[in-house]
Symmetry: C2
């Protein structure tokens, strides 16, 4: 593989190359470093990057017998996760230069699989909404989406083949859709979050951003510390697909709407049984409940920052979400929690008739400007239901920009959702 190929390859291919001795971690890491040097001034993906440390680690891994499926693969880490070897600032000046004692749980799992912690990618302040200065590498005038802005830019731009992110509302699915990548938000609770800065514990999960469905699945197995099991297309039965435009369909831009409709129609043309699917009444309050719960929890997660370092919080957080959060009463919080639990009890029935549900990932392509990271409506239902979601990039572009389509499945049926995502990936 030449350098350009290295920078666009999947982790599965790169890992095979390293395993067969056709590629070294040093060569791959050097190519990534070179790309960072060339592009970082414009893209601004990194909160912390140490080329020497990365190269030294790559050489060390090249001398070490293979540890696991990520052996020698550079992994971008959202700077909301603790790393023992690199500073961690959670996107906030309160933590400038802070060096955690120990790796966050997902970082430790990556290292245990031989992965190379490549650098800390820019996150919105405490993974909330304050946009960083990261640009969309596919069009520098556009947002990459957030809050996992640095990770998505790094992977889309060839600086790193895969990234660990988080999602509390839309922070993985949305940027992946905006940058033409695969994004995965797992079923809630299945992956350890120790050392990942909390935002709203009732919603926070790890996320993965990668170039292919197979890469996301590989990383998922690494985070679960399971033997790798690549997704496979199930061909034995007719696929049953629920097409859920969501209650926010009128917010989807016309061209995106047309592209999504055409894509779903093509699934039917391939023989899948597609049925339109409305969200049930039980889901009507989910968005409001999500907002109440995340507001209540965010302000309480950040008690120390708010009480002891208020002046270093952004005005967006200080005057916006913090004020909202203190206004949510204890009773309203508990009420929202109970509504969500009842909706979740109903979700099995909602998903049961389908192999998967397909819906928009975002309202359209990445918006121009860096002042907003985009709408979160198309994730908030699924995030609240604690179900797994995968966005797959469509090959047709709008204004030369990519768009993702989101697949959603039953809680805990993540592996099957990957199988279906592979089928979709090969058709879009």
């Amino acid at each position: 593989m030449n350098a350009d190929e290295l920078l666009q390859s999947s982790v599965v291919e790169l890992s095979r190359g390293i395993e067969l001795g056709e590629l070294t971690s040093e060569r791959l890491t050097s190519a990534c470093i070179e790309r960072v040097r060339e592009r970082e001034p414009e893209v601004q993906a990194w909160a912390y990057f140490d080329a020497d440390l990365a190269l030294e680690t790559a050489r060390m891994l090249d001398r070490t017998p293979r540890i696991g499926p990520l052996h020698g693969i550079p992994v971008a880490i959202k700077d909301i996760m603790d790393t023992a070897q690199m500073p961690t600032a959670y996107g906030s000046p309160i933590y400038t230069g802070y060096c955690p004692k120990i790796d966050a749980a997902p970082v430790a799992a990556v290292r245990a699989a031989g992965g190379l912690i490549f650098g800390k990618a820019i996150t919105a302040e405490f993974a909330h909404r304050l946009p960083g200065h990261t640009r969309n590498p596919l069009d520098l005038e556009r947002t990459p989406g957030g809050s996992s802005s640095g990770c998505v830019a790094a992977v889309a731009d060839g600086m790193a083949p895969i990234a660990l992110t988080t999602q509390t509302t839309a922070s993985t699915i949305r940027p992946a859709s905006f940058c033409g990548l695969v994004g995965y938000r797992p079923s809630f609770g299945i992956m350890g979050l120790m050392g990942v800065k909390q935002s709203a514990p009732a919603m926070d999960t790890v996320g993965i951003i990668a170039r292919t469905v197979g890469d996301c699945a590989l990383m998922r197995d690494v985070l679960l510390e399971k033997p790798t099991r690549p997704p496979t297309v199930q061909t034995d039965a007719k696929l049953r697909i629920g097409f859920c435009r969501t209650p926010f369909w009128d917010k989807v831009e016309p061209e995106a709407r047309a592209l999504i409709e055409a894509t779903v129609a093509s699934f039917a043309a391939e023989g899948a049984e597609v049925r339109d699917l409305d969200t049930p009444d039980a889901f009507a309050e989910l968005q409001a409940c999500h907002r109440r719960i995340t507001s209540y929890e965010l302000v309480r997660s950040l008690t120390a920052e708010r009480r002891e370092h208020m002046a270093l919080l952004s005005p967006l957080l200080r005057e916006g979400r913090m004020t909202d959060g203190m206004r949510v009463s204890f009773e309203d919080y508990i009420d929202a929690v109970e509504i969500l639990e009842r909706a979740r009890a109903f979700a099995g029935e909602f998903f049961q008739p389908y192999d998967f549900v397909v819906c928009p990932a975002t309202s359209g392509i990445a918006p121009k400007g860096l002042s907003s990271t985009g709408l979160s409506e198309f994730c908030v239902l699924w995030t609240s239901l604690h179900v797994p979601a995968i966005t797959v990039p469509l090959s047709t572009r709008i204004d030369n920009m990519p768009l993702g389509i989101q697949l959603v499945g039953r809680r805990g049926h993540d592996m099957r959702l990957f199988d279906h995502a592979l089928w979709v990936e090969s058709r879009v």
Copy 2:
């Protein structure tokens, strides 16, 4: 107040004394320090204690205008919570000498109310089961219970008037019952846990251990950053009490069983309407589900410690719970989560006919020896249901040792549960 009175007073009394200028934080703190000097060699409650820092903080608070309801009150902090001014070791040699960057959320709330962070109290390793060397101050041959062993010993022995703890299974209610104190585990999710070392995020909460129901209620308001609202006995209607012996009643020691029966009978004699209450079939699997979920999550929360510092984990954790946790499959975990959510949806109906439910707090008085921290059965149902629980000490002793009785209420009805606990406290 003389020194002995200071050491047994409630926080409400001490706080009033400081507010009225009849008592200084320095005098109170000095008395507590003296008590620590005298008793620590035998009781061994503290993981970190700096008398000079405590005294200096007390003097500073005496010079400062009143900040809040805990102004100048020494508070013991379970060493599972980060403190910016004191090392934090989570009961593990992995973290010896570790100094966190910022206070945990509950610690910051205490400081924001004027509280004095008095010292770090011994915790079981990662708030799990490995007993520390803390002894029960009421009988040094007995366990104080765990995992909040240092906190409960400190408050029971007059070293500190109140303590912040945690509960994932029984870690607050159990030791409070063993040491004759009031213990409170709040409704799940209502208090921020940032900076509190995770054990099982689906179950972890902050806890409070104090000498009176009123003190617990005061600290609860501080942690919620609400104006203080002391509990009041509701006298307008006949109390409806559900007496739930739990499915584990045969594990309760005969003398404890008799004392609990007599206590509940006395409530009926006072005019309360007491009805026996069996746990419904929907709760049958809760204990097994709790075990599965906490095992699955503990092992994943501790990924970095397990992968990078395995030799420094205790054999109890390394060979026991860690192995169990890796055996719980992804599917079994999700299954347990769904069973619990359905049980929670049913819990409202279970509690609805009663003002509160009364049940054992522990299987009896604190066991002899330090090798076990006691059974957790009498907490596991309520912990899993995410409902609030308060244990109130009975004045009748068994073998000269105290026993608590546990009150449980609906999720989110914590404040009303405090009102009822006050009624119980004045009658037992």
